[in-house]
Amino acid sequence: MSRIVSVFVPCLMDAPHPETARSVVTVLRRIGVSVNIPKEQSCCGQPAYNNGYRREAARVARRFLKTFASARAIVCPSGSCVHMIRHEYPVLFANDAQWLRLAEEIGKRTFELTEFLVDVLQVTDVGACYPAKATYHDSCHLARGLGIRSQPRELLSNVRGLQWVEMKDSDRCCGFGGAFSIKYPEISTALCDDKIENIRNTGADTVIGCDMGCLMHIAARLATTGSPIHVRHIADILAHTGNAP
């Protein structure tokens, strides 16, 4: 498999968390992967798609496909974007043979970060060191949609200094769900509180995940309760090599 990859940075990471995007690049470069970051990228189209606005979603999706058409491999640090590209684009372009073909081709070349590291490159140790007691949240599209559960765990188990503890129902939804979290804030936060309770019960000081949406949601809820628990994207853990985070 290609050692040159194009990175697709999810919109929820690009502006709110540029430092995490930088971590993605750092990790890939550290293991000798060449990274290309197309400037024309924006979003996979998921926000509109999930709310039923398929015309708008298709416009944005076409732009994504054009931007990455020539990429040999696309790496994206988000289970939900990869799920969108791999499994929802075929639905979105079902009646558009030309775009459908491109979407299916690109879908096969698009990988979630941990999937790319472990399944494609067969790398499970990226030389990271991150002293913390951590637990891992399985995001919905990543775990159930793409079946990626062991890959992040393998990577994390090789991070020096990281003490590991599983939470109960780690793959239960955190209640984000995009616009759902705004349209039904009470239900959304109730679900988030269930998640936070499971996180707290582990005694971990850090919760790690692979999807910025969930992480932002959990962090935003934790912030209002004044909790000291840190919320980290897996890329930030894997990029870290020093002592104290």
Binding site: I4, V9, C11, D14, A15, P16, P18, A21, R22, V25, R29, G32, V33, S34, V35, N36, I37, P38, K39, S42, G45, A48, N50, N51, G52, Y53, R54, R55, E56, R59, V60, R63, V91, C140, H141, R144, R172, C173, G175, F176, G177, F180, I182, K183, Y184, P185, E186, I187, S188, T189, A190, L191, C192, D194, H217, A219, A220, R221, A223, T224
Partner: protein, 475 residues
């Protein structure tokens, strides 16, 4: 259920969220049954893959539904039973009412049936002066309380034993107790008399088999067996999609049904009923009537996107894993069917627009698809319903009428396809971040803090471009 009320979802949800007893009950239920079902699939001798086979089998049943139903009808009639194909709820209730009048029925005992809930048969019979008694313990409790079931297989899950103790004291006149065995015994004693007095038993049908011309009914309390054998008339009501082609397929699906519903290999009682009592037999009713209910299912069948939902065997498994259902309970969905399956079929049966909260108020987490014994892709259908809501549909006679929302997504699409505009918007967002964070953003705050934006997107920063340049030649 006489009047569906899916439009009250937001208010009902808020009410349910503040109910700690409901929360505890549903958590207990999900902890027991949700993970139990997944384990039960793993323990299948044929392996988990059996569910894929079941999915294909069910799709074939739905594809051949016309032939299968005709065969079922023929075979049941040849066994001396009656079959009535009811176009809608009114036709089905009229059939039962007329039958009850003609045969002088005064008392009816019922086995648990969501389809009977869908057509509102209890109210119709009671209006005619006929007494109706639910005989499933949970349904019995709900009936005494004058409520509707809140779970497909655990209808009274929202009630505590103290609630039930007080209810029994008030309604069936036993001294107060909250001891479950004592309560169960009291119900049993009360129900025994009703069974013996009843002229008619009404049940649902878990799955029918065309080849053999019988219906199968599963229960854990034995009440369905009594309802189908003691009264002189037995009426079974089935949604028209609950049909299998062969006995082997019916058995396979019953095994999956019990695993999905309650993590059991098989329910405590399984009855196969092919018609009335045969000459020379001592048990069974004098008459057997099967009502096959359409009630807009044909409309679903005609739609290639939603047809798959007719594969559902109503095990209730998806309710046992849905995180949203766990917090808002069954009543919030405002119809006989709740949870993820309700969020898809209630809109299709009662109106897509009026039920918009049902399919918008789910997180698309996919747990329902994961547990479904017949592999129905409910999240895909929630997305399809949202699409109809947003963009309209001629087939379902829905016009797009969400101007503001579609305008917002239009602007968003503009931003996402014009990098300069997008970058400018981010810069503006960054400048306004401190202000926005102090504002009360309805929908997000006060429950959650507002994240801030960087000045520049990572993908537009020189750093991101350098790393490209360096590496192109680097490795």
């Amino acid at each position: 259920m006489t009047t569906p009320s899916p439009e009250h979802y937001p208010q009902q949800a808020k009410q349910a969220l503040s109910d700690p007893i409901l929360k505890k009950a549903l958590k207990g239920l999900q902890d027991r049954l949700g993970s139990g079902a997944l384990a039960a699939y793993r323990n299948l001798p044929e392996g988990e893959g059996l569910r894929h086979l079941a999915h294909e089998i069910r799709k074939a049943h739905v594809r051949n539904i016309d032939v299968l139903l005709a065969t079922l009808g023929r075979n049941i009639r040849s066994h001396g039973g009656n079959v009535f194909f009811a176009r809608d709820a009114a036709a089905a209730t009229d059939y039962v009412l007329n039958l009850a009048r003609e045969r002088g029925v005064r008392g009816v005992v019922k086995g648990k049936s969501m389809t009977s809930e869908e057509i509102g048969i209890n109210a119709a019979l009671e209006k005619d002066g006929i007494s109706v008694t639910e005989t499933d313990l949970g349904e019995f409790i709900i009936q005494l309380a004058g409520e509707h079931p809140s779970h497909i297989i655990a209808p009274a899950i929202h009630k505590t034993r103290e609630d039930i103790g007080r209810l029994f004291e008030k309604t069936i006149g036993i001294p107060y107790t909250d001891d479950p065995p004592a309560l169960t015994l009291a119900a049993r004693k009360y129900l025994r008399t009703r069974f013996l007095e009843a002229d008619m038993g009404i049940t649902g049908c878990n799955l029918a088999c065309a080849q053999t011309g019988q219906i199968a009914l599963v229960s854990n309390e034995g009440n369905i067996r009594l309802s189908t054998t003691l009264p002189r008339i037995h009426v079974a009501i089935m949604g028209m999609e609950r049909i299998c082609a062969t006995l082997d397929e019916q058995l396979l699906l019953l095994r999956l049904l019990c695993r999905g519903a309650s993590a059991q290999k098989m329910g405590g009682y399984v009855s196969f009923i092919a018609g009335p009592r045969k000459d020379g037999f001592r048990d069974g009713p004098e008459e057997f009537h099967l009502i096959v209910l359409d009630n807009d299912r044909s409309r679903i069948l005609a739609d290639p996107v939603f047809r798959e939902v007719l594969c559902c065997i109503r095990c209730g498994g998806c309710l046992n894993v849905c995180p949203v259902y766990a917090r808002i309970g069954g009543h919030t969905y405002g119809y006989a069917y709740s949870g993820p399956i309700g969020a898809v079929i209630t809109p299709l049966l009662t109106g897509i627009e009026r039920s918009k909260h049902l399919y918008c108020g789910e997180t698309l987490c996919g747990a329902c698809k994961d547990i479904c014994p017949v592999g129905i892709d409910l999240p895909r259908m929630l997305l399809a319903l949202r699409n109809i809501h947003a963009e309209g549909s001629r087939r379902w006679n829905i016009r797009p009428n969400h101007l503001l929302e579609s305008l917002a997504y239009g602007i968003w699409a503009q931003l996402m396809t014009r990098p300069k505009l997008y970058n400018a918007a981010i810069r503006l967002g960054h400048e306004l971040s401190p202000l926005i964070q102090r504002l009360h953003l309805p929908g997000w705050t006060p429950q959650r803090a507002i994240p801030s934006l960087a000045k520049r997107r990572f993908t537009q920063s020189p750093m991101s471009q350098t790393s490209t340049g360096e590496n192109r030649h680097g490795s």
